[in-house]
């Protein structure tokens, strides 16, 4: 006696809870691996998962077992040249080698480290754990209206492509039952009478009944197999899907004092920001603006790799940002984020202008504006100005100082740390 059951559609992630608990337990190791990956990886493959290594001792589930020593006897297969009483040298180097080792090493000692792969989702989750985007109020703004078709029951008209065969046949069946049930009942009665008549040999009645039956059959057949009224079509309606979208302005100083190392650090920072925004918004666009004394909107390649020289006027970039915003990214439709990186150099007279542009036209329109200063030297005029700004607008403006690659992730976490008060 056998029952055959198809379980393929059953949930396959029975072990998700267990896997989660396992990750929870070894969070420390996982976090360390993720943070290391952020520092080590080339910028282009941030989004990959990561391999996590946990020392064997930490994950082992200890049980009582025998240690080495004493006398052990083992039976092995495949003897070729040995005879009883032979003595063979003990294999050197302990583990795993040749005859006699067998049982001793199969548990407990000599285990490898436990290595496993984080999926890219898990990686990102750990990476951005406890972080949030400030000022998410506008998040659900409707973006470019997109539509989704949703099933909305059945309708009596539609295109042939949407014909619902099942519903149509059901309607046809219903019509048949409704129109024919009386005739079928009568037919049954007549057939019974026919049998009785045959029995009795009553020719006249037989003929009469036969005729009536013929009429009935004709009537039954007249009811069409399918009628226009049977047709049913799947009904779909368009539903607008609100999309949340964000634009991120990356502003970077490319004057002579910014060397490639500093730009790389800036890029790492922007990348984290980009990944983070992507997790929160369905659509994320980036505008790259670089500047020395004049600002220019450029593509990614140029933004990070082209070389420029000359002095620095930060306000030029802010002005351009404002222009682009006015031009293409209305705050009604977009969540706007700004991130500025520089080594702190600026034309001394320019810093108050920056502050003014930010206060008057940029900060009221953006969700968040972050400034990172990447330098090992002392702060200059720009930092001073921005410090005042931060005090005046703590909700939307923040600045942080980065000295080395190792600072990037902590600084990033600080900028987006969850604010319990908010």
């Amino acid at each position: 006696m056998s029952y055959l059951i198809d379980r393929r559609e059953n949930a396959k992630n029975k072990n998700m809870v267990n896997r989660r608990r396992f990750m929870e337990r070894y969070k420390k190791h996982i976090k360390r691996a993720v943070e290391k990956a952020v520092d080590d990886r080339s910028i282009t493959d941030m989004e990959r998962g990561e391999e996590v290594t946990i020392p064997a001792g930490d994950v082992s589930e200890p049980v009582f077992h025998h240690g080495n020593g004493g006398e052990r006897t083992v039976v092995h297969p495949g003897n070729r040249e040995f005879v009883a009483g032979d003595r063979v040298p003990r294999p050197q180097g302990g583990q795993g080698g040749g005859a006699g080792e067998g049982e001793a090493s199969d548990q407990g000692e000599g285990e490898d480290d436990f290595v496993f792969q984080l999926t890219s989702d898990e990686f990102m989750e750990v990476l951005f754990e406890d972080l949030e985007l400030p000022n998410m109020s506008k998040r659900h703004l409707k973006g470019t209206s997109s539509f989704k078709y949703e099933h909305a029951g059945y309708s009596a008209d539609g295109t042939p492509a949407k014909l619902s065969v099942q519903r149509t046949m059901r309607a046809s069946k219903m019509r048949h039952i409704a129109l024919n049930s009386r005739r079928k009942r009568e037919r049954q009665a007549l057939q019974d009478a026919l049998l009785a008549a045959q029995h009795a040999g009553d020719e006249v009645t037989l003929r009469r009944i036969g005729k009536a039956l013929e009429e009935l059959e004709k009537g039954i057949k007249k009811v069409a197999f399918l009628d226009d009224t049977d047709l049913r079509y799947n009904l779909h309606v368009q539903k607008p899907v609100p999309t949340s979208q964000a634009v991120m302005f990356c502003l970077m100083d490319v004057s002579g004092s910014m060397d490639q190392a500093i730009k790389d650090m800036a890029k790492r920072f922007y990348l984290l920001l980009y990944l983070f925004l992507k997790r929160h918004y369905e659509r994320t666009e980036i505008v790259f603006i670089r500047h020395h004394t004049v600002a220019k909107e450029v593509d990614e390649q140029e933004f990070f790799y082209s070389k420029e020289t000359g002095g620095t006027v930060v306000s030029s970039a802010l002005k351009l940002m404002q222009e682009v915003m006015d031009d293409r990214y209305s705050p009604d439709e977009w969540n706007i984020y700004g991130a500025q990186a520089s080594d702190g150099d600026n034309w001394n007279d320019d810093s108050p202008i920056c502050s003014k542009i930010l206060t008057e036209s940029i900060l009221p329109q953006v969700q968040y504006f972050a400034y990172v200063e990447i330098t090992k030297r002392n702060h200059q005029a720009l930092w001073e100005e921005y410090t005042k700004l931060e005090a005046a607008h703590p909700e939307v403006f923040a600045q942080q100082h980065i000295r080395s690659v190792g600072d990037i992730f902590p600084v990033f976490r600080q900028l987006f740390a969850k604010r319990s008060a908010a």
């Binding site: 056998s2 267990n18 589930e61 009582f64 052990r72 070729r80």
Partner: protein, 505 residues
């Protein structure tokens, strides 16, 4: 080559794709043949699953319903990694000792593999579960699924009430002692989820009452003298988890219940650990026999047989000891060889067989095989049925590794002088007592610091391994008072472990 001429062959299928109808058709034919051979089985519940679900089943040691614990997650991650990197293929099947007997078939298998799995699991393992005395004695196939459901629900309720962390700690400790949660000789009552639920509350109260008696801190004055003489436990106890469940001074009732659940599961899996060679050998013998019978009756094609034999040989290969991938004796190969040889002895006995196995040689092979399945475990099975022929075929030899000598001694080989010794050695290799350190509870300091003392009786001077102290920490977590372990050889204490470690003055 075959008993049926080519023109008369009417194979059930010719392609390699399976369908539900074909699986049913094969199952019908194989089942009919199994019945002719007298295989007595539980009803089969064959479930088709995907490879991801197979990975799930792996991680939960084949239990269809398991409580949640991080270690299952670890096993899952491990299996998943190995599978994805191609280090490991998935087993073709997993079969569960339950009534009906649940067997998982993987969607990816070809028709031939499905037929092989049906023969192997649904008729081989299934009849073993139903017939073997250990399974009959120690497990109750009808109630295991219910019990697993009960355990899962109970543990998740505990998690809600006491927190995941607290439950996890108890489970960690119990898992460490799982191998010491079995009654090796006493027969337990069969488990039933209904009964468990009903009794659980009753038990809580009862234990608490008894405990209070045991741990009464203010004994009446006149009792003191007698009590100080008294030894507790009166006899050494081998079932550590049972002892802890009943006697640990400070465990909460729910913690005792969790100890009990782990103990019951350990008991359920205990027969499987003791009958691996027999169980796999029996299943392999029957898939081989059943599918060959199918072929003889013209129900399968030559191509089917080629594919079947390829994987059959793959599973049953025994690598020689000096092969780089050698990993001990393959239980499938050994078990299959012994059952196969039993049949040979019945059908074509030699002089040697008549001398070694007078009761078997020339007998009815079906009866002999069924006896050899029913009334033994690996240890006694090898001791009883390992024939000189099999020892010669596998070229078995015994090696003694004595740490007092510089070299290994080849103590016996597959020749007239060595058969008996090789057989004894191999048999003792499957003795659970030799495999695992023999540890028992010997005393509890009832009137003093309540410390628990365990004793390890060394076997062939084998000392305790490196993780002993880690495990003792788990015992300490459950017992909550100092725990000592003494490892003895010939009455002399060789190693002592204590948790917490005594403060040196």
């Amino acid at each position: 080559m075959s008993a049926v001429a080519k023109s008369e062959r009417k194979p059930i299928s010719t392609g390699s794709e399976w369908t539900f109808e074909l699986v049913e058709a094969y199952d019908r034919e194989i089942g009919a043949i199994a019945e002719e051979y007298g295989l007595d089985t539980y009803a089969n519940q064959i479930e088709i699953i995907r490879s991801e679900q197979m990975l799930d089943a792996y991680a939960s040691v084949g239990m269809p319903i398991g409580y949640n614990h991080w270690s299952f997650g670890k096993h899952f991650v491990e299996a998943e990694q190995n599978y994805q990197r191609g280090y490991m293929g998935l087993a073709y099947e997993i079969v569960i000792n339950s009534d009906p007997c649940i067997a998982y078939l993987m969607e990816e298998n070809t028709m031939t593999m499905q037929a092989l799995v049906i023969a192997h699991a649904c008729y081989g393992h299934n009849s073993f579960f139903k017939g073997n005395y250990l399974f009959r004695t120690w497990t109750d196939a009808t109630s295991i699924i219910d019990y697993l459901v009960f355990a899962k629900q109970y543990i998740s309720r505990c998690e809600e009430r006491h927190g995941v962390q607290a439950v996890e700690e108890v489970l960690d400790s119990c898992h460490a002692l799982m191998n010491y949660g079995v009654d090796r000789y006493k027969r337990p009552y069969p488990i039933s989820a209904e009964e468990e639920r009903r009794l659980q509350r009753e038990r809580e109260e009862y234990i608490q009452r008894n405990l209070n008696d045991l741990w009464r801190t203010l004994p009446k004055a006149r009792e003191i003298d007698e009590a100080s003489e008294e030894r507790f436990p009166a006899e050494p106890q081998e079932n550590l988890l049972y002892f802890i469940e009943k006697n640990a001074p400070l465990l909460e009732p729910w913690q005792r219940e969790i100890v009990r659940i782990v103990r019951k599961l350990a008991q359920y899996f205990y027969p499987q650990r003791q009958t691996q060679v027999m169980n796999e050998g029996w299943a392999s013998f029957w898939h081989y026999t059943l599918l060959n019978t199918l072929y003889d009756r013209g129900l399968v094609t030559d191509g089917f047989m080629m594919e079947f034999l390829t994987s059959h040989t793959g599973v049953l290969t025994q690598l020689p000891f000096d092969h780089p991938a050698y990993n001990g004796i393959n239980p499938y190969a050994l078990g299959f060889a012994i059952y196969n040889d039993l049949r040979r002895m019945c059908e074509n006995p030699t002089e040697e067989d008549k001398q070694w196995f007078p009761d078997i040689a020339g007998g009815n092979w079906l009866e002999v095989l069924h006896v050899a399945m029913r009334d033994f475990k690996d240890e006694s099975f090898v001791l009883q049925f390992l024939s000189p022929q099999v020892m010669r075929d596998m070229k078995l030899f015994g090696v003694v590794d004595n740490d007092k000598e510089d070299t290994y001694l080849i103590s016996a080989i597959h020749d007239d002088g060595g058969y008996r010794e090789v057989r004894d050695l191999l048999s003792s290799q499957y003795n659970m007592g030799d495999k695992e350190p023999n540890i028992q509870v010997v005393s509890v300091d009832l009137r003093g610091d309540r410390s628990l003392t365990l004793q390890h009786n060394q076997f062939s001077r084998k000392p305790m391994g490196a993780s002993t102290e880690e495990v003792l920490k788990h015992v300490y977590r459950l017992w909550k008072f100092p725990v000592h372990l003494q490892s003895q050889w010939e009455g002399e204490v060789k190693q002592t472990f204590s948790v917490p470690q005594p403060v040196s003055e």
